[in-house]
């Protein structure tokens, strides 16, 4: 068990083609026993951050501290970490048992203790019947469990997982996600989890770190990142289908601040208006925060249905709104037909406003 502190981590990969800034100025404190997820699109530097914590990569500058101790220069084996790789990286020529005990063996753990620990891990992850098999004789889910076991067996202070579920099929992924959550409840080790699947991050984590282009965009509980995204990138990245974005301008009118785009004018909530930002802005609203209202309701916005998709218990309606396209989420029972005219109501409490139009447009609150 350990706290982890990342102190202004910076990583640059230099090659003949030029330099890639994989990480910029990453500073983060992770509490003992906390489960944090690093999420972000492909290439945003998640794995790089994890590999620096593991000691597989050296940062260009910055420090990694475990329990307040600087371990930036230590070899992976001296850091008391364990890692689960996306490919599992099980040793192909060793049996499951040998895979599990390899780390203990290399650390000179005596035989009886090794056997005891292997038996305990086998029972915990229900892989005892597989002990004499080779990795290639296992299914994806079984491999995944062995990889977890190999990491857990050493009782690491910090547990690093790099997209451990991404090679599994959808159903198994949901199952293993639940198992991982249960596992964390049981062992209470600090876990740092990399994924590009925001649903995994939302369901598993105490806190989520959203990254883009090597830069940390927001840190917060799943609830915070979902309902109070710090900028337009986070707003669009978290949530499926992603948040609707309408670009327009903010202007004062009659003592109030109004957001307006072609065909849409909405009053800005007082808290946000108090900041006094004007000019170019983006309005964000989640698909579930748009409602279908009876025509003629004050403030309703007329629009036309383009397509409706049934997604099991709910329906996603693609709706054209004066040149913008928004997605509205309703229960499956709400049936709309292409071409139909509807009236949309926006919940003013649930509007998100961003100053500007770029990815990094900050939220106005």
């Amino acid at each position: 068990m350990a706290t982890v502190r990342l102190d202004r981590l910076h990583k640059e990969f230099r090659s003949i083609g030029g330099a890639v800034h994989a990480l910029r100025d990453l500073t983060l404190d992770i509490a003992d026993g906390e489960f944090v997820s690093l999420v972000g699109p492909s290439g945003c530097g998640k794995s790089t951050a994890l590999r620096i914590i593991a000691g597989l990569e050296t940062p260009t500058s910055g420090r990694v501290l475990f329990d307040g101790q600087d371990i930036t220069g230590l070899e992976p084996r001296d850091r008391n970490i364990a890692m689960v790789f996306q490919s599992y990286a099980l040793y192909p020529h060793m049996s499951v048992r040998q895979n599990l005990e390899y780390g203990l063996r290399k650390r000179g753990v005596p035989r009886e203790e090794r056997e005891r620990k292997v038996a305990a891990i086998g029972a915990m992850l229900q892989i005892t019947p597989l002990f004499d098999r080779r990795p290639r004789q296992l299914s994806g889910g079984q491999r995944q469990r062995v990889a977890l076991g190999r990491a857990l067996i050493r009782d690491p202070a910090v547990f690093l997982l790099d997209e451990p579920l991404s090679n599994l099929d959808a159903k198994l992924r949901v199952h293993m996600r639940a198992e991982l959550a249960a596992l964390h409840q049981k062992v209470r080790t600090t876990m740092i989890y990399v994924t590009h699947d925001q649903l995994e991050a939302m369901t598993l984590s105490d806190r989520i770190i959203v990254m883009n282009h090597g830069v940390m965009q927001q840190v917060g509980t799943p609830e915070e990142v979902y309902s109070r995204p710090a900028n337009r990138f986070v707003a669009e990245f978290i949530g499926t289908p992603s948040m609707n974005m309408i670009e327009g301008t903010l202007r004062p009118e009659g003592g109030r601040l109004l957001f307006s785009a072609p065909g849409i004018t909405v009053p800005v909530p007082p808290a946000a208006a108090r900041q006094g930002t004007t000019g170019q802005a983006t309005l964000g609203i989640r698909p579930e925060d748009i409602s279908l209202v009876p025509p003629g309701t004050p403030g309703a916005i007329p629009a036309q249905v383009t397509v409706s998709e049934l997604a099991g218990a709910e329906r996603f309606h693609f709706i054209a709104l004066n040149g913008h396209s928004v997605i509205v989420r309703t229960p499956a029972a709400t049936v709309l037909h292409p071409g139909e005219t509807v009236a949309l109501g926006l919940d003013p409490e649930r509007l998100h406003l961003f100053s500007g139009a770029g990815e990094d447009a900050a939220a106005i609150r």
Partner: protein, 319 residues
Amino acid sequence: MASDTPQGAVRTFEDGAVRERAGAARTLASTLLDRHLGIILLLPSALTFLVLLVFPLAYGIYTSFFERHVLDPEGTWVGLGNYVWLFTNPNFWHSLLISTFWAGATVGLQIVLGTAVALLLHQSFQGRSLVRGLVLFPYMMPVVSVILVWMLLYNALYGVINYVLVQTGIVSRPIAWLSQPDSAFWSVVFVGVWKYFPFVVVIVLARLQVIPQDLYEAARIDGAGPIARFFDITLPQLRDVLLVVALLRTIFMFNNFEIVFLLTGGGPLRATMTLPILVYEQAFGVYELGRGSAIAVVMFFILIAVMSVYFAFLRKEND
């Protein structure tokens, strides 16, 4: 499932017969094609195989039952006479021993040297591609040029090796590398290793490049140092490819003729007289074609035996 296909085929054929009775006559040629299409398609390659592989082999075995030489080009049947001569001839046993040592030493050293060089070339350093190309040089050089170069290097009077050894005071007098039994064998082995180790380098290097990097990273996290990583990851990953290379090189080196023959002709005092050179000596030196063939046949069966042991071993491993 697999048994469905032939039955289905038979049924189709019967259907054809029924239709024939109904008046739709089918030519004999198309019936033949239907029934024997597979065989017909295989025939060209089967025949080529027969002519190019089986015939020379069978003819070699056949010849080994005759006494044939310049005075008797037609040959006289001697049955197993050539084999009796062979197995009672100390020169044959001597050559078998030399051949075994030659194949064992060259293959063993090629694999060790080849693997070591491949591991070096797998590291990243400046000018790696250039060095990778240069390493292939001995393998691409024609044997005759290789021999000429090494004859010059080994030469007792003006060879570079002796010059360096004498100049640096390691030896006081030049060594006649190729004309003393002990040094001749190892000098020849050295050239055999030098010429063919790049083959091992190429294959091992190709295998090294596809070993997943994360295995090494997992091992690093598990606490394995560089040496443990070599024995626990690299070597087990190379194992299969090394076994195949060992088999291929053994067959090749056991049959290799030109390197030894051109360097020493089998001498001095038969110290490098491998079986292929013995075959040559019998067949073209003293024109005993039957005896030469008999030796070649024995060599063939020795290799068959080696391969059987090898494949039996592999099968046991895979279970």
